[in-house]
Symmetry: C2
Subunit: 290 residues, 2 copies
């Protein structure tokens, strides 16, 4: 969403001033001209509802929610784009294997909370990098083996080296920036780096990001860095959702939301997320229930 | 070889002062205690002869040369590590497909000359980036569609954009540094970058390489950067050599050597290669024929 309001080139069309901001939502059908849906049904769309209390929307861009598969808000969490991103990113782009050391940045965020649990469920060692002791504690509850606070650690590369003396096999990179730099000095041979987000670069506003580069480390480790966008993998969504719902029903996949109330609090909730103040998936309750 | 005399961490053991410098060679058997070889046989080793006129060497580290498959010096060129690097790098790490735009840095070098021809033989468009008009002319003789002189081009990223308006699908990166930077501003969606060499960083001597970074471009293009070392693909050597020899016998694969004479000229030949003065694979003739 941050990228969509940026004027920079991106993987999706931008949102201009005056447009309705794009965003996913779970909605209750109030009125329907489609024979497929009736009032009271719940539907979800990852992108097209927008930031608004009510939406008129085509039946072709929503999916019916099956509440037996997972509880309602889960369809914007581990059953939504962030769960799919965590699962497909680790499995497909990261190629995680049992025994891998997997480091996840923004580990207490909506993708990171699920990614860490998937890493553990796959038999990996999972290392959280996050921004507070509270978030590290939350990551440990989720099963992460260790947590590193990048805000208080004076030498992040050294802290990672101490925690992961054999190097990082898979790096789920949600931030770019200094955390990325620290991990690239700790690559295991044939490391895989999933470039999923670059939130640490959010404030560069199109200016070049200047800093140390690591081509030699990439060559020596024969590492792979790959830009990952979950929307490229829609053919894998059913497989991913089935697996995630199974883990959840078996009690192996926890989830957590951070719910704000009211449409007017949406920009603030968005900023809280960008400044690491949320715990778990940031949601906003809108419409008559807010 | 440059990396082996550097004290930095590397993918292979280093060579210390006083050690024999490692290097591949073609040798004629003068005396043999092995029933597999007799005087007059020709053998090749990619690494273990070393910089010396004569070598005592185990039969287990050499391969017999079949002169019917390709002429003698070719076994250090397209039938040797540089041909294998070009072929396996493009096919395996680069995943080249007909119609791809393939940009190759150090395009007139020993790997680049072969890589450009393989790109053309695979149905790709091949763009050379090299250091002189003479080398661009040589690349055109080899079949490259276009050449860019990085030493005289005032804005390399713009020159690449002009030559490749739809972006680069595959980048065979032999240099890192400013050429890498220019290409990363011109990535096609799902671009693949083969990090094969970092010769532009040769003089940093372990200091960090500071400059613009391109994580956002990698994410937006969903590009893949991969460190590539041909020694990881020994199981593919027979397939690669068979294909390369077939192309050569069919008159479709040209080769060129730059031969210096005498062991005492080896360091100088090595420096010529590092400073882009050679044309084609740099070889040194040693022993009684030098």
């Amino acid at each position: 969403m941050r990228a969509r309001i940026s004027p920079q080139k991106n993987y999706a069309a931008g949102v201009g001033p005056g447009d309705v901001m794009l965003g996913g939502a779970i909605g209750e059908v109030i009125r329907s001209n489609s024979p497929e849906y009736k009032p009271g049904d719940f539907v979800v769309s990852d992108l097209t509802f927008g930031w608004q209390d009510y939406a008129v929307i085509s039946h072709s861009v929503v999916r019916r929610i099956d509440p037996d598969l997972a509880p309602l808000p889960c369809w914007l969490d581990f059953m939504g784009l962030n769960g799919l991103t965590a699962y497909i990113g680790l499995v497909e782009s990261g190629g995680i294997r049992p025994g891998d050391t997997v480091l996840i940045s923004a580990a207490a965020g909506s993708v990171g909370q699920i990614a860490g649990q998937i890493a553990k469920l796959t038999g990996c060692r999972a290392i959280a990098v996050t921004s507070s002791e509270e978030k590290i504690a939350r990551c440990r509850e989720l099963g992460y083996d260790a947590g590193i606070n990048y805000r208080t650690e004076p030498d992040l590369a050294a802290a990672i080296a101490k925690e992961c003396p054999d190097g990082i096999d898979v790096f789920f990179d949600n931030t770019a920036g200094p955390i990325h730099d620290a991990v690239l000095q700790n690559l295991a041979t044939h490391a895989r780096i999933i470039v999923c987000g670059t939130v640490a670069l959010a404030e560069t506003f199109g200016q070049p990001d200047i800093g140390p580069r690591f081509m030699r480390q990439i060559l020596v480790a024969r590492a792979r860095i790959e830009g990952f966008l979950v929307l490229d993998y829609q053919h894998r969504y059913v497989e991913a959702r089935t697996r995630l719902a199974e883990w959840n029903r078996a009690g192996k996949l926890q989830y957590q939301y951070d719910i704000a109330d009211g449409l007017e609090n949406t920009p603030n909730a968005f900023l809280r997320m960008l400044t690491s103040k949320n715990l778990g998936k940031q949601l906003v309750r809108v419409g008559p229930e807010a």
